[in-house]
Symmetry: C2
Subunit: 192 residues, 2 copies
């Protein structure tokens, strides 16, 4: 059994859905562990969360750190994706980012996810990165997904993640890529 170290219900369900092919029991963490996500990279924050949850729960855990990287804005909101304009809704955050982007021709962006597994008993930690490249849409569209999904158009599509819905997202998303890669690695090393 592996705990999913997050208190974000959307994430927990998305992760369980992504990993449903793997024959592993996943449970939501029974408690919140305070971890200061002050790293400057997705790798640092993802590893910190996995480490402190694993040590506290004394059980293997998985978690991720994810975010949107907008190239014209110097990588913003990046590792600050969740904390950018804290207290505001994602609709307001997206409107503000669209406002800042309006004078740039370059609308390219990436969704990045670093998924991490930590087993405090074996002392093994593994991280895998998933990236989806795409562009920021001119407007906010679609009701599926969460966070910045409604204004991100993945490469090869003309709809936002908010319009494409869960089944497409499960196949091509950054989180899907990272967790599937991670679980393939875990199978190879015998941790699952």
């Amino acid at each position: 059994m592996i705990y999913v170290a997050t208190t974000n219900e959307h994430k927990v369900h998305e992760i369980m859905d992504i990993l449903s092919d793997f024959n592993v029991e996943l449970l939501k963490s029974p408690k919140k562990v305070d971890v200061e996500e002050d790293g400057k990279s997705f790798f640092e924050n993802s590893v910190k969360k996995a480490y402190y949850y694993g040590m506290e729960l004394n059980n293997p855990v998985i978690c991720d750190d994810s975010g949107l990287v907008i190239n014209a804005l110097g990588g913003m909101p990046g590792v600050e994706s969740a904390r950018f304009m804290e207290g505001y809704s994602y609709e307001e955050k997206m409107k503000e980012l669209l406002r800042r982007l309006q004078n740039f021709d370059d609308k390219s962006a990436s969704f990045v996810c670093v998924a991490t597994y930590f087993n405090p008993n074996s002392g093994v930690l593994i991280s895998a990165q998933g990236i989806v490249n795409g562009t920021i849409s001119d407007n906010i569209r679609g009701k599926f997904g969460f966070g910045y999904d409604p204004f991100f158009i993945p490469e090869g599509y003309d709809k936002t993640f908010g319009e494409l819905g869960e089944s497409v997202k499960r196949q091509i998303s950054h989180r899907s890529g990272a967790f599937r890669k991670l679980f393939e690695l875990l199978k190879k090393v015998g941790e699952i």
Copy 2:
């Protein structure tokens, strides 16, 4: 080819020696990358170093974060092992720790190492922990090794790492345990 991300010559040679059975070319990093080792765990610091060296060198890297954990002193010097009493020699650091330990019956301690591999191209990061339990000697003995080796007696021995010499250390040390475990994992996942 994998870079060893450290500027500590002792460590580079020890790591190359430990991994000489594996058929992998290891080279010392061609430059120093400034990484603030401000994490509160060996995992955090080891991952940070691997990540920033890997991104800067654009090549797979290995590194470690190691330290001495003295139980009676609340885990001191721990992640601060290298920075504890900065500017002083290890002989002076050991003398100070012996002074602080003199009123405790519990002389138990562990050497801990977290070895990390990061490949910026595949986005895969793997860490493995090695631990050697032992006791702090009443005095500083032996001329082999480096750092805190001359006052640490590993379990099952009556000599310090400073007296036991490189061949024993290569077999049983925390660094040896961590790097061998790491390279076994890397073989299994096909990164080496």
